[in-house]
Symmetry: C2
Subunit: 337 residues, 2 copies
DNA sequence: CGCCACGATGTAACCGCTTTCAGTTCGGCG
DNA sequence: CGCCGAACTGAAAGCGGTTACATCGTGGCG
């Protein structure tokens, strides 16, 4: 493997010049820049990130901490972030805590601190003040997606209002018996996201002076399977069933729709369903939903992290400003029978 | 940030001893090991990976190159690999080529060569001889998942036989008009996976002396949406429709089932569907499938890479031996009407 | 025509750790 | 009681870059 010295030798200049020519820092005459480029090319030289990082303190590598990668939202954000990073010439180091607490532990106590990262992006993770402090002490920028962490730049949608909007849509169609499908259990420890949406739903119900039934607020862990089960159980009760569901994720909405169909109910005839996400499959299910562009959230987080690195501190108050969402009306909602 | 020197100073030993004590390489008395441990703890010392890698040549970091992260198979393998790596104390650097050729380009021409990786795992990617050579020249172990790359350790399932088995299952139930849903377009460039399964299907049909209709072999890019469309089109033709589908992925099988239902057809009454994958949602759809444990494939690849690193070259002929799969009979298949 | 400022380069001091090599210490043994 | 090897430990030489600082020409200007 060619090292910078080989290139310097081949180009007939010093290693300093090679470094400057290749990295673009500092002045180099066009002539030597060209010589260096040619020599490097010829030798198939690629700088050693380790050496470079060690010497300069910059590693062109950012860390992304995700709770899982199996959920639509997470994998889509990841996809968006990965794409943005590769374009910026950065490496992406992925930390998947995967619900396993020991993984989460080691991620924070070790991995992130190993000084190999220029910045870290967290996805729907609630950091304890201690963890924030740990990250802070490393002095690397942190940007969070989907949750408000004190003192940290954040990308997030307005969960409360989104959910309220979803509920209001159903209410305006004439529904009164509206259930809510949330997902908290697993991530409750991590974030109040589930409950922000739940709060929005309750708020809308209150505003419309509709009763909120405890037994119609169910937790399905954001999964299709969970939603299917829960919805089936609720709909199976012939005494009193909701005419509509607000689902905190599209994946759960799919579960709701499938459950309804399996019980011989028509969507939207017998049951209206609204989701939140903008999942690709939504179209296929005719799902009315509130779309959030997850991929762009990932890309935005990367942009923000990069900006912070560039010193461009373009931080206005990071707390202000929600990521935009879009109401997508399709065929899973209609006035109740 | 505390450096190894600070720890040495605090512990009253040399940096060499600190290094040995913390890394476990070389002999250190229990006494000094303890002193070092305590000092390190107190100072919140964490070794600098960059410095360590530079000096030792090992970086405790492996690269994973994936074509996308939005597909069940890919994200599940990723999840498995990530988990195994975190347990091994390794970092995971993710390269998502995402179908974008320019991304793939830069991944191979630069990222992988930056000497920050101890090994690389590729997922369903066909490497050109030149790319293999590039990787080889870096001297790092490469293990591939899902595809045979000459001279490289590979984890893969027996696509041909799996597909044949799926078809045979339908044939044994009495089906004669069996269609095949494959997905090649996007990944065809990368791998013959799609066609290996297609070949298996055709082989089974041939063996049973059943005709293979060209118009019943369709490509849906492994996506649910694609499958939905294609299957809808095929089933919409009242003149002659298949009574069963072999799908090269569960996600496509879901699309097929949804399409059938939307046309008012009963599954399995009017249409039987077999998938390949073992997707979590399979249960919900009652999908008969051939399950491959994707997460374990990821973990296996990691284990193999780690073994190669450990010098344990446990490579018997890497070509031999398929990853095990399991036939899961559920309710989406039955004898034809 | 001499001096100065500025651009282009080279020298060398790190960056923070690993590892070789050369001691030092000790206990055991002849 | 002297010698030897095993067990530890420390000094120092890198690993492959980056960058502050010194050096060296030059063209512009007084």
């Amino acid at each position: 493997m060619a090292s910078i010295k080989d290139v310097a030798l081949a180009a007939g200049v010093s290693v300093a010049t090679v470094s400057r020519a290749l990295s673009g820092h500092g002045k180099v005459s066009e002539a030597s820049r060209e010589k260096v480029r040619r020599a490097a090319e010829e030798l198939g030289y690629v700088v050693s990130y380790n050496a470079s990082s060690l010497a300069s303190g910059r590693s062109r590598n950012i860390g992304l901490v995700v709770p899982s990668v199996a959920r639509w939202y997470f994998s889509t954000v990841l996809e968006g972030a990965a794409s943005a990073l590769i374009d910026a010439g950065y490496d992406l180091t992925l930390y998947n805590t995967s619900g396993q607490d020991r993984h989460r532990q080691s991620v924070f106590s070790e991995l992130l601190l190993r000084k190999r990262l220029d910045a870290v992006i967290t996805l729907t993770l609630k950091l304890s003040p201690q963890e924030v402090q740990q990250l802070d002490s490393v002095g690397k920028p942190v940007v969070a997606i989907g949750g408000l962490i004190p003192g940290i730049a954040t990308i997030r949608v307005d969960d409360f209002n989104i959910a309220a909007l979803a509920a209001e849509h159903l209410i305006s169609l004439g529904h009164r018996d509206i259930a809510f499908l949330g997902g908290t259990e697993e991530f409750e420890v991590d974030f109040k996201l589930g409950s922000a949406r739940e709060d929005g739903y309750e708020y809308a119900m209150d505003q419309a002076e509709l009763p909120v039934r405890r037994e119609w607020i169910v937790n399905a862990d954001f999964t299709t399977q969970g939603a299917y089960q829960k919805v089936r159980n609720i709909l199976a009760n012939p005494r009193h069933r909701p005419t509509a569901f607000v689902c905190a994720s599209d994946e759960m909405a799919f579960g709701a729709i499938l459950a309804a169909r399996d019980l011989g109910l028509d969507v939207p005839g017998d049951l209206s369903v609204v989701g939140i996400d903008g999942h690709e499959l939504g179209e296929l299910f005719g799902l009315t939903t509130i779309a959030q562009n997850a991929a762009r959230q990932g890309a935005s987080a990367v942009a923000k992290a990069l900006a912070l690195l560039g010193g461009t501190e373009l931080e206005r108050d990071p707390t202000v400003g929600f990521f935009p969402t879009e109401f997508v009306a399709r065929s899973s909602t209609s006035p109740p029978a």
